[in-house]
Subunit: 308 residues, 4 copies
């Protein structure tokens, strides 16, 4: 028998005449992503300036792009970014966009020795909530785990704090209800590495990336193909971009081409994730469970471990 939770997600009926959905999302990591990965970057002004490009230069450009096409997007803002770049965060809100939760210092919740304990995870969530409330007066509906790394405790912790949705998992092409324990659930809106600009553009020496940097033409072309394929099958296209990466002029221009195209498709419902989550909630879908950890007792001879 298939374990509970391992069934495929149900197809989703979209509002009105729409037969598929799409959302542009931006993770405003700025300095938090490098400081969390390596506190030593605090002493590397060039690296800090590379990250500060996001809120200072990339974000205003992307807000102009979105405004030109009348598109509302979702911005995931670590609490640290809100504290360090409050004007940037308020500009997001002023543009009519959704602000959502992305940790405090972009803390990866699962490290080499396993997940952080629940108390640490809860404290990070609360610290992020406090920062968004303080700086932007926002109580976010949505959460995206830094590095898209949820723990098994995350759904419950999020539900306890009143979150409506999470967007960190990768097992479906459409949103679904995710069992959060105790009768609660979250709307889960899936993402994927292939629809993320980090793998295409990010190089921060000693912190992230191999040094390879792809062209915006390649990245935007691949994302457009994925959009068309999801559109044809009733899926939900969620692009994840970062202002410090996709805010660069040539990349923003390529992204604008994609945004313009998606916004021009009458059969596609283009909306912030919060709107999508509220629609999905209204469908009363039966919740699925997190992929359960496998039963223990499997052979784990280190000699057979391998990665490629």
């Amino acid at each position: 028998m298939t374990p509970a939770g391992m069934r495929p997600a149900d197809p989703v009926r979209w509002p009105g005449a729409a037969t598929s959905a799409a959302s542009f999302t931006f993770d405003v990591d700025a300095e938090s992503a490098v400081l969390s990965a390596d506190p030593g970057t605090a002493l590397r002004p060039s690296v800090l300036s590379h990250q500060a490009y996001g809120p200072l230069t990339g974000l205003p450009r992307l807000l102009r792009v979105l405004a030109r096409h009348g598109v509302r997007a979702t911005f995931f803002v670590p609490g640290f970014t809100a504290h360090r770049h409050p004007d940037a965060v308020r500009a997001i809100a002023d543009g009519g966009h959704e602000i959502a939760h992305h940790g405090y210092l972009h803390e990866t919740l699962i490290g080499p020795s396993g997940p952080v304990d629940e108390r640490t995870e809860a404290d990070i969530l609360d610290r992020g909530l406090d920062a968004l409330a303080e700086v932007a007066g926002v109580r976010p509906d949505g959460y995206r785990a830094p590095m898209w790394e949820l723990t098994h405790a995350s759904p419950r912790l999020l539900a306890e704090r009143g979150f409506l949705y999470d967007t960190s998992l990768m097992d479906a092409d459409v949103p679904y209800e995710l069992d959060a324990g105790g009768g609660a659930s979250l709307v889960e809106i899936p993402v994927h590495w292939g629809l993320d600009d980090w793998e295409q553009y990010c190089f921060i020496p000693g912190v992230s990336g191999t040094g390879l940097i792809e062209s915006p033409a390649k990245a935007a072309g691949m994302w457009r193909d994925e959009f068309e394929a999801l559109r044809a099958e009733g899926g939900c296209f969620v692009l994840t971009a970062h202002p410090f990466l996709s805010g660069r002029p040539g990349r923003a221009a390529a992204l604008e081409g994609l945004i313009e195209h998606v916004a021009s498709c009458p059969d596609v419902w283009l909306a912030p994730l919060g709107d999508i989550a509220r629609h999905v909630r209204s469908l009363n879908l039966s919740p699925r469970r997190l992929p359960p950890p496998p039963p223990s007792g499997h052979p784990s001879d280190d000699d057979r471990k391998g990665s490629r």
Copy 2:
């Protein structure tokens, strides 16, 4: 004198009017590949969801693609996948496709300190056989080693269990008989890293990949070029794809274009690997041997070791 087994494979005569052969194969690794590479991934729900996408979402899509073009394929299913996703595995069989062996937990048989012992390898084979029998009622004809890593003992162990063919080696463009010791042999159907979707698409942080993700247009274009070149020379085109990777919408669309093209070539025999193996067996080819380990006694000064 050339050592036995180091002669080139003989050309293969294909059935009827066919002058070359082709097969689409899918490794349904799902969670097994990451759990085997790093047991800690059991506590990473996002990684598990990335892998579960295969049986839950990618596989049904790929089965629809194959059905649209009337193409039968070969699916290599680790025993763990059969136990965790039995409905998915039964859907493969229901589609008329071949199910073959791919280890139990996708165990790499050769680790940093060398190959596993024969008893371990035999136990894994038997565990995988039991799972396929239990879940799908199948006794597989074919075997593909996880990571394509055979040991020198593998051919004999496979022959002892009645396998007809293996598909893990890389020294020819056509199938051949592989000496399995004691007068037995296996049909070997060669593969190659260049005809594998893993190198083009796979990124699982901390487990596999550098972060680079190629476009389906590039991957499918390269595979098509390789197909045409093999076709022109009477070879056997074997593509290896993974539902958790190539099952994504844009990738599946690119792959469908290739499948449609291959299926439309009247001079190409498109068949599951089992059919190809049975045909090759009927040719009574003279067996070749595994590439022998080189004689020992070579200089092995660590200072001269280098990789690039």
Copy 3:
């Protein structure tokens, strides 16, 4: 409140009819970059020859390319390069180009255990100044940190030595005044990894690169797209190339296509960085500060550290 220095850079008014600016810059690292990264390369003649290609073969070709189009560029020359390849450095000056500072042995100022101390940084600056004076009779206006790694002390040390500009930071699309402490400032002309040929072409086994080498068509196409996007927004396009990389024939040909195009745009002010810095200085912009190190006291549980 946004901390001082974290405000976006102001738009820049360009001279005459120009609405944007551009500059081609070359880092003449030659052997210094590998000797600094790994002193053992002194015993690897092939690696040394790979680096010597820059001043010996690539540089003369690039000087011919620039001369054909009447373009003056800026060359960042480590002191060691001046001592080892004095004829090459004098040929740069003879071509009417700007010579600027790039360390002595291309020393990275921030290593695994943090930044070098100020005395070491100052000594390197002075050694580089001495070498450029001795070999080329030049007192440079500009500085580019090796690896673009400034320390928090760099602006003050540069200002104390009379430098007009630095070009190592990444937080804007236009130059700005950078507060150097004590009432002094430097013009900062931003750069970016995406406008650097190293990420596209560099492979030095055991020293740099993964082995991947991109095509000049891809690199030059991506740079041209970035140029057009910066041009449309009044930005300052700064390409960083290396004679040992972009001096190769096919790469120089692709770069020449880009140079020819940029030089043909009447709305673009194409100039050495020194000229651009003098123009920016004349604008009396209000200085910005280096991105400040973040306040300490953040959680730094190693278990949450992660890079991707």
Copy 4:
């Protein structure tokens, strides 16, 4: 003063009406490259089969390609390959091609702790010479260091053994005379990582490569652009390919397109490296020296070491 040996190579006058030169070269590494990098690969039959593809399948195909266009090439054959695949090596000679030296077991002469001692290097040279004499009756004129890693002793050791040329350095676009000490010299025919198929295609898990595999269309296009640029400037185009890589059908087809094009250019002298070396020797060029090791005494604070 520029140190001796650091002057650029002189332009080369080509024979007859030719204004540039070209040569296709193949390193027949087969199993030697992996066994030398990691002796443990002796127990990995799949890896061995990946390498054996070269002499067994790729080489015959490439010999057919060359024969179709009447092109003679140069094959660098490690002694171990000659012993293990004697028929393949004799087929090279039978095709009218040049056979040259490439070490015995593809030993990298410079490891993590520095170069091997001269005695070891000399023994490897002699072992390789013995194997080529024994198997193919050949006394090679040319040498290519495995991994293109010469030691400072290599030129003298090669001259003492009567070699006419080496092809391992990277500081010029044309051949030159290389001072080998004691009044002797070698013709040096430069190579480059950008004209090597390894960086485009090679993936051997745990041995070489990141997993990325480029398309033959990209590789061959880049090589053709480099050929055209060298052709326009009187250079010498030397492509380095490996039968276990470029012998794959789609790659061989792309390479054949390039070979056909180069062979059709009446202004290009397409010849084996030995012919090119003999021509260059006839020009009585003044020898250049190996790039000298830099003077010691430079700062080498480990904290400033960095690679990217």
